[in-house]
């Protein structure tokens, strides 16, 4: 796949050339920062309110390909209001909203790691890991989310993308990846 190819090699060399954007962009960025809240250090661990014992609906799903797990169950539970830092910068200001603790749960007995990846954490593959509960291969994390609509999926073992079978699929999917969607309504 990575065999030498003079035409492709030349294209790559060209694409690696530096690009210089408008020098005034830096000033625009700094001006934009002044218009909003400053970042806060010491964000609370997301599982501060981890509470997987809260019961939610569970559904049976098909086997996860590539995993040792024979099957997976998943549930998505709204576990109540939780005033916390907003995670979605495109959401309305946090001061005007109360975040709800949304619990993301996946049962994946064969998994070594599970993270939830969505627009609420800028699609970071590592920012929001789920914690494994003793026995049964249950993974869960609670994430405070202001009211809004969020797309997400689970990343199993850093490589396998799994939608949440307990949640509706996202209709718009930029990359054909099976996203799920959760809507957090205001109180």
């Amino acid at each position: 796949m990575d065999e030498r190819d003079p035409l492709i090699d030349r294209a790559i060399e060209t694409l690696r050339e530096p690009v210089r954007l408008d020098p005034s962009m830096d000033q625009r960025i700094m001006a934009e920062l002044e218009r909003g809240p400053a970042p806060r250090a010491g964000t609370q661990p997301l599982w501060a309110a981890w509470d997987w014992l809260r019961r939610g609906r569970s559904v049976t799903v098909s086997p996860l390909g590539g995993l040792a797990a024979a099957a997976a169950l998943a549930a998505l539970i709204l576990v109540g209001q939780w005033g916390a830092a907003r995670l979605n910068d495109s959401a309305p200001p946090a001061a005007a909203l109360e975040a709800a603790a949304v619990q993301f749960v996946l049962v994946a007995p064969g998994a070594s790691t599970v993270t939830v990846v969505g627009d609420f954490n800028d699609w970071s593959a590592t920012a929001t890991p789920l914690r494994r509960a003793p026995g049964d291969g249950l993974w869960a994390v609670s994430v405070p989310l202001p009211p809004g609509r969020y797309r997400y999926g689970f990343l199993v073992d850093g490589a396998q993308w799994v939608k949440d079978p307990a949640a509706p699929p996202a209709l718009e999917d930029d990359f054909g990846r099976p996203n799920s969607v959760v809507t957090v309504r205001g109180s």
Partner: protein, 180 residues
């Protein structure tokens, strides 16, 4: 000249020194700009994506752990901004044109043949699917490993290898048509 590391700048920003963020902007603007231009095909959208990534990064800076990883963390935000902007642009059915290589020509003189070649590459890159373009640029322009790409994109390594292979095949076909 001694320069502060990313972690020191991040800590200063989190400590209330917003101006320290300018050092991070200056440090990463060009790398982010190159990726955004390659992905979005024009300077206007690229600047929007880069600016958006820096602002989002600033607002969420408390979640950049460890702060030494600021560059990779910010790059992941940009990758997602480019996805979102690219999808929005596709929905608007705006045609990507290659004229935006002008941002590169501003500082370097090129011959007409060079310009034609750059236009051909930009055009060919724009013909790929978003997934193929992303995989190709991450692999060969940003020189990430497949493991790093997988962590960044959420896609499996085998899927990424397939995208890269298809991108290479398609680019070769398109460039041979123009320059063969």
């Amino acid at each position: 000249m001694r320069t502060e590391g990313d972690a020191a700048l991040v800590r200063r920003v989190l400590g209330g020194d917003t101006g320290a963020y300018a050092g991070l902007v200056a440090r990463y603007r060009d790398r982010l700009g190159r990726y955004a231009v390659r992905m979005l095909g024009n300077a206007a959208d690229a600047e929007e994506a880069v600016q958006d990534a820096f602002v989002r990064g600033y607002r969420s800076l408390g979640r950049c752990v460890p702060p030494e990883r600021f560059g990779a963390w910010l790059f992941a935000i940009l990758v997602n901004r480019c996805r979102t902007l690219g999808a929005q642009r596709a929905r608007r059915e705006r045609t990507v044109v290659s004229e935006e290589a002008v941002v590169e020509r501003a500082s370097v003189e090129h011959t007409a043949a060079d310009d034609a070649w750059r236009d051909a590459i930009a055009w060919a890159l724009a013909q790929l699917t978003a997934e193929q373009r992303e995989a190709f640029v991450l692999k060969y322009v940003e020189e990430l490993s497949y493991e790093e790409m997988s962590e960044l994109t959420g896609a499996g390594i085998s899927a990424l290898k397939m995208r890269v292979a298809r991108a290479r095949d398609e680019l070769r076909r398109l460039l041979e048509d123009q320059h063969g």
